[in-house]
């Protein structure tokens, strides 16, 4: 063993040199610490009754969990696991569509026996409002659209199937219909066409499409009736009234809500949008700006912190927050719409670092290069928001910057002169130039290319925090420049990032980001 190299044991003494890490709350997870975390980011369906809002959150549509959020509360509770379906509301009752079955929900509990067996699955299922007195709703309760057959089938409330009520194949539209809605205000069925036409048609029970103002500009992937007003969702929500006055269509949210899957009332006069970034609340006073979000933030592969801005790279998405955000603050700048930013982001970010002029550079293991992400650019279609900047790596894992130079851990090796014999996958650097590198079992401290010490223990990530090294793994450790454990915290974290006295870490348990402040005064 090199005389300057020694192994520090994980059980080394704590709080040696007068610094402590103070836990300062969570980001990206809306639940209180005492409550179970919401495990996923996206919310694919939502509907409410007089007391609660129910939503389905999951990793992808069709696989999720059913949660309940009491009106006026920001703390949700899990009602049911393994729920892959869509929630429907007729204004009085709630229904859950799962595969070919429609179930009634009573206080969020799915009834054993399905209310309706459609005998096969459909692309869209909608429900007429309770006590419908006009149009399609007089004869039928449920309507289902088969995109391939271009036909809408219908069932009575008692489950009796009716002959096909609408053949969309007979309508001469420029693009195929991809969605279906029940328009409670008129009792009509409405359906939107896809790109490039992007219009919404209204149909009367005789199968005729209505003229006049219809088809309306704009399309929606789903439609919902709230207090008699029909809303369509796509990126935010827009009204589809019977007689829209020009310039009079209300709108909730916008492009930052792409994709919106559902809209529901909040029990008062506000709204919730079920989106790919969570369940986003909009108060009536400001329908363009989300005021809080319900959801978690799992799967973080890399974190960065710069000038109070937090960047979290998740699988296929980049989320932005502020360090002082509340736990239920909406996520900003989701970089998950590759076509929107024109950069074809569909890759695997393993490290993110602040660059010049408030941009962030993301190291991509799949593309073996670096992306430039500018969170300040939020305009629709601004291609400068997200650009592939290049780089030629073999299997990059981590990077760090100092004085304009970048140190990369690539295929287990650092791109600077060093004496490391073992492969490393994590790297960070002190402002004074010392490099800290790590693999899953060791932390190495290098000065002028020479390893001065090694610390052994389980390591997920490392981050230089002022004069210390934060190490995540089975516990959160703080090492000093000599490799001694200064303090340890009972948090299991993965990705880390630090700025000034602040340290953030991704928590797989809390499905969010935990904040810590370095406190030197506490000896």
């Amino acid at each position: 063993m090199h005389p300057l190299l020694f192994t520090a044991l994980l059980a080394a003494s704590c709080s040696v040199s007068g610094a402590a890490l103070e836990y300062a709350g969570c980001l990206g997870q809306s639940q209180e610490e005492s409550a179970s975390p919401v495990p996923y980011t996206a919310v694919y369906s939502a509907a409410g009754d007089s007391s609660n809002l129910y939503f389905i959150t999951g990793p992808y549509p069709g696989a999720g969990e059913l949660w309940r959020l009491p009106h006026g509360s920001r703390t949700a509770e899990k009602v049911r696991g393994a729920t892959g379906g869509t929630l429907l509301s007729d204004g009085t009752n709630l229904y859950l569509v799962e595969g070919r079955y429609v179930f009634k929900l009573e206080n969020g509990v799915r009834q054993e026996k399905p209310l309706l067996d459609m005998k096969r699955t459909y692309d869209r299922v909608v429900v007429a409002n309770a006590h419908a007195k006009a149009g399609f709703g007089v004869a039928a309760k449920f309507f289902a659209y088969d995109r391939k057959a271009k036909k809408v089938d219908a069932w009575k409330a008692d489950g009796t199937m009716l002959p096909t009520v609408l053949d969309l194949g007979k309508t001469a539209s420029r693009s195929p219909f991809y969605s279906l809605g029940y328009h409670a205000e008129s009792g009509s069925l409405i359906a939107s066409t896809g790109y490039p036409e992007l219009r919404t048609y209204r149909f009367t029970p005789d199968g005729a499409k209505q003229s006049g103002n219809w088809p309306l500009r704009g399309s929606a992937s789903a439609f919902f009736n709230l207090d008699g007003v029909c809303w369509g969702v796509e990126a935010g929500a827009t009204t589809f009234r019977s007689h829209p006055v020009s310039g009079g269509r209300e709108r909730i949210g916008g492009e930052s809500d792409r994709y919106t899957y559902a809209i529901a009332g909040d029990g008062g006069d506000g709204f919730f949008l079920a989106t790919s970034q969570g369940l986003k609340h909009y108060a009536r006073e400001n329908l363009s700006e989300c005021d809080f979000r319900i959801g978690g933030l799992p799967g973080i592969s890399a974190l960065a912190l710069s000038k109070g801005r937090v960047i979290a790279v998740c699988d296929g998405a980049i989320h932005s927050m502020l360090l002082d955000d509340s736990q239920s603050a909406p996520l900003q700048n989701a970089g998950n719409e590759a076509w929107r930013v024109g950069a074809n982001w569909a890759s695997r970010g393993v490290a993110v670092q602040p660059g010049e002029n408030a941009v962030f550079l993301i190291l991509d293991r799949t593309k073996k290069g670096v992306w430039r992400f500018d969170p300040s650019r939020t305009a629709w279609g601004d291609a400068a928001r997200f650009r592939f900047e290049g780089g030629k790596f073999r299997a990059p894992d981590d990077m760090a910057f100092r004085d304009g130079s970048v140190i990369v851990a690539d295929a287990g090796r650092l791109n600077v002169k060093n004496d490391l014999a073992e492969p490393v996958t994590r790297v960070d650097i002190f402002p004074s130039g010392e490099i800290v590198a790590a693999n899953t079992g060791n932390v190495f401290f290098l000065k002028d290319g020479k390893t001065l010490w090694r610390f052994s223990g389980k390591v997920a990530d490392i981050a230089v925090l002022e004069d210390f090294i934060a190490v995540s793994g089975e516990k959160l450790l703080l090492l000093d420049r000599n490799g001694k454990v200064v303090t340890e915290k009972d948090f299991r974290l993965t990705a880390l990032a630090a700025e000034g006295r602040w340290l953030i870490g991704a928590s797989p348990e809390r499905k969010g980001i935990l904040r810590f402040k370095l406190n030197r005064e506490k000896e």
């Binding site: 009079g248 109070g308 290049g390 780089g391 030629k392 304009g404 791109n415």
Partner: protein
């Protein structure tokens, strides 16, 4: 493989291709590229310098004023044996009125050659109303003019509909008739005494000597003989004018030009008195115009008032003005200032009716689409406002670009002969503003204002205008930069709406009510019902106030009187979440509608439409009010503070505006900084105020950074209001006695802060930290605001003195009592409250010099040299071991320089500055480079930083 690359290497460098080819082009009207609707337009292009026989493609993109592509075209061609090609394009967009920018380049990247001030890569043309269709109106009904016209076939007047402009008197009638030969375009004018008819040029040096002083624009008599001489010139010109009336019934004489820039009020009044007498002796019917002040911004209304107090209006028949004002004109107070000026004229006119003319104003726009859009919106909306506010005429400045740099300036057109032939050019091409003004004059000439439409939204403005036949037009726009949806009564089932360029479309209304989405581009609603909007429209609804006030959660009453039987409908904005209210009303009665303001409604002005409907449902009258909603608790006077232990924070005042007790909380936030998230509770009795403090322990801000702050007020009743602000956090130490008698010795250990290293001037001469760096410390005591700047400079170079001392190693410092203040029409008061001054200091060949370059109070705090008694300072230079120099500036600024007397700890004052650096003579370094703190030269003192007086 070891990779070690620099971060900037991520930035991809793009090199444009190098080609020897030259691409030129023009339109089939090469004089001014203006076309009538339906006129054939042919573009011709010529390429030279290609390899012989080379196949190439000409790429064309026809864009509108917003850069929106209307058509793209590719024209493949093959160069001839000499490497040249010539081609014509005839199928070009021309169906609509408007501006067309043809982006033209070859596929190898060769751009269309820059021509004059028209930038490389494009040519332009415009389709504008046929001059032959323009009607002639008498001068009192004519408003649109033009300042500066191109010559010959390039003339712009008929195309833009110019009926007003300046003239320069010809030598005699014969010359006048010769000049006017074939002049059919009716044009009203005024003599400007410039060029060959200027008083300065018409007097000999011998005559001027001892009798008059000053140059061409500042010439003023100093003896009775001098007064006699200039009177003689004015008289002679007016005599000539009797033979040169042309289309003018009365000759008009503009005696001086922007005299506020050159002459004292007393001299202006004296010269006008002399000129009026002389001109009227020659032509008793002549009209005298003045004073022609240079802008309508902060302070100019007050400058007029001071002049009028000296009896100036006795010597003029029409007031003239150059209403230059920054864009957006509405937010910068054009409307308010014009109204204030009108009131001031009326007040001092002694019962005479004196109208106002605008005879020069514009925007200097470098030839980029972004600046040209500002020029277009600025000129157009200023014209609509000036017409709507009753100004007699308006002359956009200038017909064509005339800055020899050829980058684009004030021109409404590109000057294609810059730099060879600037004045009187015969080749121009339109910029976007030109067709916009041409459309406005085509649609509105002959019309005069009938009402102001201010009640449709907080950022919506508009006017109704009517001609002598009561043909009514409404112009409307939103000046926020966003869009606004509004409704307005037209009295028509179907109405024509014209866009900014004059393209008309027919729109169905909802029973007369027209829904519009307004943007910064004005729209015109043509031929609205004169019963609602015309000259004789009876104002059948007369609100008591146009801006009733109420508090969120309480109620407001909209009231007034009615002049016709019917039903009055009150239509609230959607944010009030209430239905339209209709009440029966009788002629001569009063109406009163109580409106409940939602308790959560945010502060602002909300438009309510008032329509009076007859028994048949027809709208008899339409107007509106804007309800001013105020918060139950107002948050005021936010200020950065620094506690004794060095913690920064924000202090503010809460004022309970309602008569009831109110409680709640205030939360602070600086986004991204957890240390600044704080919350306090408050409780205030009705109408009570209280001062509160939120401290941020642990917050360590960088001192020259501006931080965005948020204060959220939440009342127990559910009202929420977020106040956003911008603060820096920087403190000055208390240093009793320092600065007195220029003694700074007690300031032993200044708390220096590193100055930002960013170069703020002439970066080409800045060599980084080794060339120039600095540190600064601030202090204060009861007598002085103290600045201590320690500069490290590789070369000390200062050979200038006095007013030019900034042009060597020096500091330029701006001080102010406030950064911004609420706008008022009392501009003198505003200046005193801001108390902005600039003081420059340097160690010059004359010693430690200081020069006041700008003063908020020129009468009492004059610009010029400051003695060591007036401004105690100590400036020294020493040499460092490495050969560089250390310049130490220690300056004590007396508080009255900031219009302050009793300063106290906790107050903030505002400053900004630059440290200037010169390393060589002007021949080698033609500007000083500089580093600085905050922004001294950007709209001072708005971008200054605050310094907290800490004790």
């Amino acid at each position: 493989m070891k990779l070690h690359f620099m971060v900037p290497a991520f930035s991809l460098m793009i090199f444009s291709s190098v080609s020897a080819a030259v691409l030129t082009g023009d339109t089939s009207n090469p004089y001014n590229s203006l076309f009538k609707p339906g006129e054939n337009i042919i573009l011709s292009f010529r390429v030279e310098g290609l390899p012989a026989g080379k196949k190439e493609t000409l790429l064309l993109d026809f864009q509108d004023q917003n850069g929106k592509s209307r058509k793209m075209q590719q024209v493949p061609f093959q160069a001839d044996g000499k490497g040249a090609w010539h081609g014509e394009i005839s199928d070009v967009p021309r169906a609509e009125y408007g501006f067309y920018r043809v982006m033209a380049k070859l596929s190898d990247g060769t751009l269309l050659r820059k021509t004059g001030s028209r930038p490389a890569g494009c040519l332009t043309y415009a389709v504008v109303p046929d001059p032959a269709l323009r009607k002639v109106h008498p001068p009192e009904d004519s408003f649109f003019g033009l300042h500066g016209n191109s010559r010959g076939k390039a003339t712009l007047g008929p195309w833009i509909g110019c009926r007003w402009g300046m003239r320069i008197m010809e030598k005699d009638r014969e010359a006048f008739l010769k000049a006017r030969k074939n002049a059919a375009w009716v044009f009203y004018s005024y003599e400007v005494f410039r060029g060959p008819t200027s008083v300065f040029n018409l007097l000999t040096s011998q005559q001027k000597k001892g009798n008059l002083i000053g140059n061409e624009q500042s010439l003023r008599p100093v003896t009775p003989e001098g007064e006699r001489l200039i009177a003689e010139v004015y008289r002679n010109i007016a005599k000539r004018g009797l033979d040169q009336k042309g289309f003018d019934k009365n000759m008009r004489y503009q005696v001086l030009w922007e005299p506020d820039l050159y002459l004292s009020d007393d001299d202006i009044v004296r010269i006008y008195r002399i000129a009026r007498k002389a001109i009227r002796e020659a032509d008793p019917e002549a009209l005298i115009l003045g004073p022609c002040f240079s802008h309508i911004g902060l302070g100019s209304v007050d400058a007029h008032r001071r002049l009028f107090e000296k009896g100036f209006l006795d010597y003029v028949d029409e007031v003239t003005l150059h209403p230059y004002i920054p864009y957006p004109v509405e937010e910068n107070g054009l409307v308010e200032n014009i109204r204030a000026l009108r009131e001031t004229v009326e007040k001092y006119a002694r019962g005479r009716k004196i109208g106002i003319r605008a005879n020069e104003a514009g925007y200097s726009a470098v030839a980029t689409p972004a600046e040209e859009r500002i020029q277009m919106y600025g000129q157009l909306r200023a014209a609509l406002i000036l017409l709507g506010e009753g100004i007699l005429s308006n002359e956009p400045f200038y017909g064509y670009d005339h800055d020899s740099s050829g980058k684009g300036d004030y021109g409404l057109t590109y000057n294609l002969t810059i730099p060879h032939h600037i004045w009187g050019t015969e080749r121009v091409a339109p910029r976007p503003v030109f067709p916009a003004l041409a459309a406005a004059s085509f649609l509105l000439e002959g019309h005069r204002p009938t009402s102001v439409i201010e009640y449709l939204g907080d950022t919506v403005l508009g006017y109704s205008y009517a001609d002598r036949n009561d043909h009514c037009v409404i112009a409307l726009w939103d000046f926020s930069g966003r869009s606004a949806r509004v409704r307005i009564e037209t009295g028509r089932g179907q109405i024509q709406v014209a866009d900014m360029m004059g393209n008309v479309k027919s729109v169905k209304t909802d029973g007369g009510s027209l829904a519009l989405a307004l943007t910064e581009a004005p729209v015109y609603i043509l031929d609205v019902d004169p019963k609602l909007w015309g000259r004789n429209a009876e104002r059948k609804i007369i609100p008591d106030t146009l801006s009733p006030q109420g508090i969120a959660g309480e109620s407001v009453t909209i009231s007034g009187s009615i002049q016709e039987n019917g039903a009055l409908s009150v239509k609230p904005p959607a944010t009030f979440r209430m239905e339209e209210t209709a009440i029966p009303v009788r002629k001569g009665s009063r109406y009163s509608v109580k409106i409940r303001i939602p308790r959560t409604l945010s502060e602002g002005r909300y438009p309510f439409l008032l329509n009076l409907k007859g028994a048949d449902g027809r709208i008899l009258s339409s107007t509106g009010v804007r309800v001013q909603v105020r918060p139950p608790v107002a948050l005021e006077q936010e200020q950065a503070v620094c506690s004794a232990d060095g913690s920064f924070g924000i202090r503010f005042k809460l004022r309970n505006l309602s008569g009831r007790a109110c409680g709640g909380s205030v939360s602070s936030r600086i986004p991204g900084v957890p240390e600044c998230t704080r919350k306090i509770k408050f409780r205030l009795e009705g109408k009570q105020s209280g001062e509160y403090l939120l401290l941020f322990p642990g917050f360590e801000p960088s001192p020259f950074e501006i931080w965005k702050t948020e204060l959220l007020v939440e009342t127990d009743s559910g009202y929420r209001a977020k106040r956003k602000g911008e603060f820096n956090f920087l403190a000055a130490s208390y240093l009793p006695g320092v600065g007195r008698n220029a003694d700074f010795s007690a300031w032993k250990t200044p708390d220096y802060l590193d100055l930002p290293q960013e170069c703020v001037r002439a970066p080409g001469f800045h060599g980084g930290k080794n060339d120039l760096s600095g540190r600064i410390a601030f202090g204060w005591n009861e007598e002085y605001f103290l600045v201590n700047i320690r500069v490290r400079d590789d070369v000390f170079f200062q050979k200038a003195t006095g007013r030019n001392l900034w042009n060597g190693d020096s500091v330029q410092l701006g001080f102010a009592r406030a950064r911004t203040i609420p706008r008022t029409t009392n501009s003198v008061g505003e200046q005193l409250l801001l108390a902005f001054s600039e003081i420059n200091a340097a160690l010059t060949p004359n010693g430690p010099e200081a020069w006041r370059a700008y003063s908020f109070d020129p009468e009492n705090l004059k610009t010029g040299s400051l003695s060591n008694v007036e401004l105690p300072r100590d400036i020294s230079v020493s040499e460092n071991a490495d050969g560089s120099t250390e310049i130490l500036y220690r300056i004590a600024v007396p508080w009255h320089f900031l219009n302050l007397k009793n300063v106290q700890a906790g107050m903030s004052v505002y400053c900004a500055g630059t440290v200037n650096d010169r390393d060589a003579e002007f021949a080698r370094q033609n500007d000083v480079s500089a580093i600085g703190f905050f922004k001294l030269k950007r709209l001072p003192p708005k971008n200054f930083g605050g310094v907290i007086l800490k004790k």
